[in-house]
């Protein structure tokens, strides 16, 4: 690991709308991306709803910001860990989540998936591996 680079994990636990946490988290990620750190995102509890595909916010009068997750690859944020147990508990599967890809410049812009579904135990390992954890 290069000098001065820390591992940052942004933990998202809340549903996308109804509170400002999810949107604020995403904005902090986008702003923080300028500092060239090693950034990962974690989605657990109701936070997994943030990644559900085909969101439609017309009737609640707020902006649907879910397409912005697909821009994260441009900001070199390519690790989105989703906890399997949280999906299961909400009757969701990988197919309910939107596809989020990033382009690997080192491999002729090959498209690779950013979302990784992991178990609660693996999530604990991801967390213990971080220098900084920010919870939203």
């Amino acid at each position: 690991m290069e000098d001065g680079v820390k591992k940052f994990l942004y933990v998202n636990r809340k549903a996308p709308y109804g509170t400002i946490y999810a949107l604020e988290s995403l904005e902090v990620v986008l702003i923080g991306a300028a500092f060239d750190q090693d950034v990962s995102l974690a989605f657990l509890d109701d936070g997994v709803f943030q990644l559900v595909k085909s969101q439609d916010t017309k009737d609640i009068g707020v902006k649907n910001f879910s397409p912005t997750f697909r821009a994260l690859g441009d900001y070199e944020v390519t690790k989105l860990f989703v906890e399997k147990e949280s999906l299961d508990e909400r009757g969701l599967t990988a197919d309910d989540l939107q596809e989020i890809m990033w382009e690997d410049e080192d491999e002729d812009y090959a498209e690779k998936p950013s979302i990784r579904i992991i178990s609660r135990t693996e999530m604990a390992d991801v967390m213990s591996d971080q220098d900084v954890i920010l919870s939203f």
């Binding site: 904005e27 986008l30 300028a34 902006k63 397409p67 912005t68 821009a71 441009d74 900001y75 812009y109």
Partner: protein
Amino acid sequence: MSYELDGQEIATDEEGYITNLSEWTPELGAVIAKAEEVEMDEEHWAVVNFLRDYYEEYQIAPAVRVLIKSIKKSMGPEVGNNKYMYELFPYGPAKQACKIAGLPKPTGCV
């Protein structure tokens, strides 16, 4: 402040970004560019159109380094480099081009 187009007043915030994104037309873009003292040519419009497409797809205006990287990929390194982009938009390619494109200020721009 505000812009005027065909006798209509278009509202903006204190920095000149239009507040109602749906009011944008290329004609309004030209009016904003004039206020910014940017003379629009084909390449300026290509950047503005790129930003509008990016916003349409991702619901954000990209940060300047993301913009330049993406332009480099789509339009080549002659256009997609810092020096050239700042020649096109002296007050910052993301900031100024977004204003002309009728988009909000890029996230993280101060």
